[in-house]
């Protein structure tokens, strides 16, 4: 790291920021279109001319023009800070997720650990939003988000530990390099647990109780307007990007594939995109779980499976040594 010049640092930061602004929009547009076609609709068709490709840009321009309302009884500073707290962790996470051995925003040795840590911080933004809004629905949503975080962070950390154990390193680059197709079977339960827990962390269907619109309006984001609301939405889609890329790197070998040396980064993005489409697919197909079902799934199924996966990985590592 010390070998970097200032210029290189700035360039890398700009590149990460660009990816952070472009990839979530790409996922969002994919969601618009895939969801529409899964429901027998066309989705946006006008913005930008060709099949509504600029719909999310138009949405962004609209959000900028909206008034930024802070409720009178709200905790103003926490209310204003919350979208940033929700958004920035995903930016940090995106910076350390490698697309290929050389294509990474910042080289960190224990990047898997760092990613898990900052993703946990993102939920605090939701909590802050819910608490600061002075709205009962916001508070309920925030409490649900907190309960979800507590339940699903544990199996997620356990399965990442399992992968790290299998690879013998906490570096995401190292994990992806240690990956072999054999892992698809060996780490399959862990992969499933990671995917389910990731969905829950992102508060995506079927784990979107924190923003359950039919019950608590829009949960912690009820009182938000304009750009701050857009930031929360951006955080959600950035979260999908981060989770999908993380899954691709941890369980699908990241850049592993034909001509990995030259177009490896494309493989990582492609795998991530497929996973993002699966996330969207779930949203279209499934109803929302009930809050108690959510907790039951986490503690009765995911945590035991994750522990079992950890044990299987440990046995495997010892046997292969």
């Amino acid at each position: 790291m010390s070998g970097l010049t200032w210029l290189e640092v700035v360039l890398r930061a700009v590149a990460v920021l660009a990816a952070f602004l472009v990839l979530p929009l790409l996922v969002g547009q994919t969601e618009h279109k895939v969801m529409a076609h899964m429901q027998g609709r066309l989705g946006p068709m006008y913005a930008g001319g060709f099949h509504g490709w600029a719909q999310l840009l138009a949405d962004g321009i609209k959000f900028v023009q909206k008034e930024d309302v802070v409720p009178a009884r709200a905790d103003r500073s926490a209310f204003r800070l919350a979208p940033g707290v929700a958004l920035v962790p995903y930016l940090v996470a995106l910076a350390v997720i490698p697309l290929a051995p050389g294509v990474v925003g910042a080289k960190v040795d224990a990047s898997a650990l760092l990613v898990l840590a900052v993703i946990g911080v993102g939920i605090i933004g939701t909590l802050m939003a819910g608490w600061a809004s002075a709205n009962k629905y916001s508070l309920l949503g925030a409490m649900r988000a907190a309960a979800q975080l507590v339940s699903y962070e544990l199996p997620m950390v356990l399965v990442v530990a399992s992968v790290a154990l299998a690879a013998g390193t906490l570096s995401l680059v190292g994990i992806a390099q240690a990956w072999t197709p054999w892992w698809l079977l060996w780490q399959l339960p862990g992969a499933l647990v990671f995917f389910v827990a990731g969905l829950a962390e992102l508060q995506r269907v079927p784990f979107d109780m924190p923003v359950a619109d039919s019950e608590i309006v829009f949960g912690p984001y009820t009182e938000y307007t304009g750009l701050r609301f857009a930031f929360f939405l951006l955080a959600e889609y950035a979260g999908i990007v981060v989770m999908a890329l993380l899954f691709a790197v941890l369980f699908l070998g990241g850049w592993a594939g034909p001509w990995a040396a030259t177009v490896g980064w494309l493989w990582t993005l492609l795998k991530g995109l497929v996973l993002a489409v699966v996330v969207i697919w779930f949203r279209v197909s499934w109803p929302r779980l009930r809050e108690d079902q959510l907790q039951r799934l986490a503690w009765v199924w995911l945590v035991p499976i994750a522990l079992l996966q950890l044990a299987v990985t440990a046995v495997g590592v010892v046997m292969m040594r």
Partner: protein
Amino acid sequence: MTGNLDRPDPDDLERPVVDLSPPGGAPSKVKGGEPDGGRGGSGLSGILPGIVQGLATTARTMTRHTHTAEYPDVRPQLPPRSRGVIALLDENCTSCMLCARECPDWCIYIDSHKEELPPTTEGGRARQRNVLDRFAIDYSLCMYCGICVEVCPFDALFWSPEFEYAELDIHDLLHEKPRLSQWMATVPAPPALDPGSADPAEVTAAAKPARPARPVRGERAPGPGRPSRPPRADPQQTPPVPPADGDV
């Protein structure tokens, strides 16, 4: 209507029970009235949970054609007899006011005056006729019931499928005679009759052969309410009248 609905119901309940009883186990589920549950009990879908069926459904839908109507770009396929707007054929209007009076929300405005027509023959009587000055329909009030179209005895009002006459101000929805007449061009020809249906009344009336003169029935006494018609001096009295005609 209710009788028709009631009758098939027991049959529908009975038939599946009879059909499904050989495989076994199914009838009780069918009686429960949950078709998916009944299907889920047998075959692969019993092993695959419902969530996979949901995924399959959405994936299948994605591969099929969408239902979206791209309206401003693609004109909609309107059904025949669409009630878009009411068009006025003002030459046919006699200002009889029937439409205005039958209109449930009184959205038709008619002004007319009487005009004296000079007698066509020397020493004849001058005739009067109504001249339509104003005919307006307030489409902000109209509820598209079509009673005015039905009630018009002179075929002056027609349904047109035209529907693109939205306005920014509600007051602009009051359309006067010239505008209503413009819509006449969009009135479609009446739809073709269904095969095997009876001819319209006017066609049958025109196609009917001239009625033969009634035979004199001297032996039957004329009905009490029926004025007796004096027998016409007609040489064609011989053709026999069918008995049905005599009853009518």
